[in-house]
Symmetry: D2
Subunit: 346 residues, 4 copies
């Protein structure tokens, strides 16, 4: 059994890592840390596991991490992870970092969108962007994975096949994304106060969301050119799920079935990407609680525009599930180990 730890187990990413690792038969959880719950039991923090999972939270210490773990998931907030991850990596511990701190390759962009200077810019180049569908081989060989953001996972999987083929007319690209509320984290706020959040639908950070440069970086890499596009996220009164509706025109004329072939081929060996056969159309519930991404493809013949719609569970494929998928690759396990739970519906 490989020994794994979770740094910063308090939030939703932490609880979801616990849930998934619990079902993984090749790793053993040996170390969990929490700043705010030091000395408390996991079940005090995540009472749904009360009686099912007993382990005391420690304050973070590199020495203890070295002693107790072979790989850690770093679930600290952005801005904190960049202080901790280098310590672990240098000590030879494999790291899957779930923050935004090592996703961008350009420290200037980081400062611009996250509002603080990056203190470990050397690691930006070393980290592998942890989207297995794009970087599987690199992930297998790295010791530091930057786990993608939830929106980027949903959008990149929707666009990668076309971007890779250079077929997107970038100036037509609009992404209208909708997310459940758990993506905003566990801290109470007016924005997520139940009476103001339910029976309500809202856009937020319109054309200003910090995941934008991450998507542009990766799409640009696929396309081999610098690109920009319009991204608008919205908040849906539900817990889990991201649905991204992507609008674009192709640089070449193409029918819907040609589009389908491109996607089908691109994802032929990706166990977690499901292309839905029309008339079936994606719903967020088709992936709820699971590590799958489902895609629907549609051509609007009246305008010549393509509409690609993707769904993921933001806490699984958009965070903890993908982190375990990356861990599986880094440790040489079967990619799907511990991740075959089916979607929960109804």
């Amino acid at each position: 059994m490989v020994r794994v730890g979770i740094i910063g187990v308090t939030g939703y990413t932490g609880s979801e890592l616990l849930r998934i690792i619990h079902a993984h038969d090749q790793v053993e959880l040996t170390y969990v840390t929490s700043h705010s719950f030091t000395g408390r039991n996991l079940s005090d923090i995540h009472p749904q596991y009360s009686g099912l999972m007993e382990m005391v939270c420690h304050p973070f210490s590199v020495e203890e991490a070295i002693e107790k773990t072979d790989l850690v998931f770093c679930a600290l907030p952005h801005g904190e992870a960049m202080h901790t991850v280098p310590l672990l990596t240098r000590a030879g511990i494999k790291v899957v970092d779930l923050s935004a701190d090592f996703r961008l390759k350009d420290k200037v962009l980081y400062q611009e969108w996250y509002g603080k200077e990056h203190i470990a810019p050397d690691y930006l180049g070393k980290a592998v962007y942890g989207l297995p569908e794009l970087y599987r081989e690199k992930i297998k060989e790295t010791t530091l994975v930057a786990n993608p953001g939830c929106y980027p996972t949903s959008v990149l999987l929707a666009l990668a096949p076309l971007a890779h083929k250079g077929m997107i007319c970038w100036e037509t690209l609009v992404v209208d994304a909708k997310s459940g509320t758990s993506g905003a984290g566990r801290n109470p706020s007016q924005f997520l106060h139940y009476p103001e959040c339910t029976e309500n639908f809202r856009p937020y950070r319109v054309a200003a969301h910090q995941h934008t440069p991450e998507m542009e970086q990766e799409l640009g890499r696929l396309a081999g050119e610098e690109i920009t596009f319009t991204f608008v996220p919205h908040l849906v009164p539900m817990i889990r799920g991201i649905l991204s509706t992507v609008y674009l025109k192709s640089v070449v004329s193409m029918e819907e079935d040609e589009l389908w072939s491109i996607y089908d081929k691109f994802y032929a060996n990706d166990p977690f990407v499901r292309l839905l056969v029309p008339p079936l159309m994606v719903e967020t519930k088709y992936v709820y609680g699971s590590n799958y991404c489902a895609l629907s493809l549609k051509k609007d013949s009246r305008t010549g525009r393509f509409i690609i719609i993707s769904v993921i569970d933001n806490l699984v494929k958009g965070a903890a599930g993908q982190a375990v998928q990356n861990m599986n690759l880094m440790l040489g396990f079967e990619e799907t180990t511990g991740l075959e739970m089916l979607p929960l519906r109804p």
Copy 2:
């Protein structure tokens, strides 16, 4: 007191008309009809009004309508209204029709999108499209108003000022709309079955919604040219509210405050359109249960695209409230009479 009737009072549009007319002090409800609930009391159909509103549903009869009413709201399904409305109009009764039957000017388009031949095409030219912000003066003088669809109301109010000025680059126009579930009506279906609808987010009729030609007709009239655009509706797990996110490029370069000025001037005399001052951003709850439309305007400087977001309550400004607003104009009342209820929030 002017005597009004409701033809087809059984559905959500019916119950919402009852709620609003109850608070209107210049009209009196004198006649209600229902096919499925003939002989039953209103409170059997809409039990929330039990003990508060007692009136027996009749089968529809033109003679009775003539005898008992001065104006009727026709809340029949599309395909049925076109049989009934001409009978009423010919008899001199003023009609606000809430179906789709008299919104399109072109019977060919009607057949194409609604799947049946129009049996009263003569009336297509006579009906006035009941969006007071565009056709106030014509509504005052007509005897037949075609009350707009819920999506078209939200989209047209978002686009009218720019369309009217000829400033929209039409081939860039994408409308991503999100609606609560009450717009789909009162009949139970798998699609709206609670366990499959809550905690779920879904697109539907992607680039194929029947409200599309209605919007294109009206935008085309404003622009003075034939236009097409991409429209994708989504279902939000909530009861009421439509939020439309509109993406477009302008034919001329413009800053956000110039856009604002155009809208501010265009809607200066429209009591139900509210332009939100940034950083306030629209939410569907800002108009819940009320007849208002709220608008947010945003320029995405990185791509030069404009993003206009509108919210309405689909059952009020998107249906029954707008119908009463039209009635007020047709009867010479103050436009806001009976419609000043504030949004319900939380």
Copy 3:
């Protein structure tokens, strides 16, 4: 026009008072105060009213209240109201206090359940408990009304007719109450954090809720004896509504229709209490957004137990609506003025 003020307009009770007073044609809002939003506009606090209601929040001052108002609604938290209300009352201003501070007659009970000493115990005897169905005449003549709690309103209206007749076997009485989330107020908390609140059902303060002594006091007064009973509240994932399921045995044998007659007679002249005719059974949506209380009565013949179920909107009949009802009585208006809005459903 009578001039009214709202002390502490920031919370949900405040926003609901604004909504109701806006529709009231015999009073004028002349003064609003807020500690946290001093100097800000009402629409900054309650953005749903943006563009619809402009008024600046002042810091509270007795002098200003005296100068500007004839009656005030005090919507301060318990513990604060007892400092403010006596200042107003002494100055001759009529007060409807929506806190818990003047509901209990016994300062010892207050200290026991609210955890602080009462600093104005003289006023406990002077305040009239503002449940019009029980104290209409006294309310008309007082200058200080203690507006009932939301749970007590729902439970007392369910039990008053039987308690008044001395027919309840008190040791059998169990009240299982369920409330929407807005009753817990506007401050964000883990308890009301959307991702932990939706798709979840929870009991809280089991047999320990601070509304218990208020109910026991009023039931005891009706019965003419000291009583205790078991009260357990639960939180429902919805915004508005309280449903109380009341279980009891009668001291005399009785059929369901006899029970019905007792209630029907007791509430014959109460415009806001609706007794539902079986098989219609209460739902919280039957009173949503309105000032009504609806009641269903049932005998469980197998056990001889009676089950009485009441529903109210906790923010309306359970708070702001009842406060306006009390104001109407205190000012000699028709009791229903401004309160005839129908329930919002769907």
Copy 4:
């Protein structure tokens, strides 16, 4: 691998059985039947499994069941199962029946509460009531298990320890239960129509629910006497979860910690019953998607009443999960095999 089948795979119990069996490593699904979807693929019926689970639905045939399976789950509606189950049992196939048809021992009660005559009364005595916490040893040896109803599972686990000790004063017993909507099944209805179900809380079948005699039978068996009690179910606007609040007085005086000891001892060897340590209090989300039952115990010292609150996921411990737990026992597997998935929260 033991070969298992599902008779009637179309509903929510069917989809949940599929989800759980998929994660079970000692059985293999070899046969599924559906009346309404004969010839269709599982993923047409349960699109969340599209691309993940391909198997064609057959019409039911005893011969095919005999040939292909060692054990079947019968997920037919009550009234249908009694026709099918005897055919299977007689053929030597082990059966876990999820309907109500073999739960009651008394065919007269069956007719009274389910409105039809029982056509296989001989089997009423042979079936073992499938609550492992009460009948583990009998389940291991039977070939026919009557899987308990969802409400009975939640209520019996809340009461068994006290009933078994003869400590309940039965005439004081009141059970106020609250259920999510999936318990009502997959067929669309007005009752479960999203716009009428969300933001709404409702009692139903007040003191008349068909699960009542099932609970009385089992409690009576534990107590060794005939008993009746009051049971009122309510519908919560959520998908999954039952919370039962149980009120009773004990026949002997007892403190809360004594009650705790009784429960702790009774459930010492039951892997799926979790007793929560105060102040932790049950929430339905603590068992969401899992096979656990969680219990909170409370004494109301003011009235001497005990309050016991249980939560289960109605589709798992209340249906499919418990069925698999029974299967594990019948097949000699570890009781927890395939059932260790943790609750999904948030």
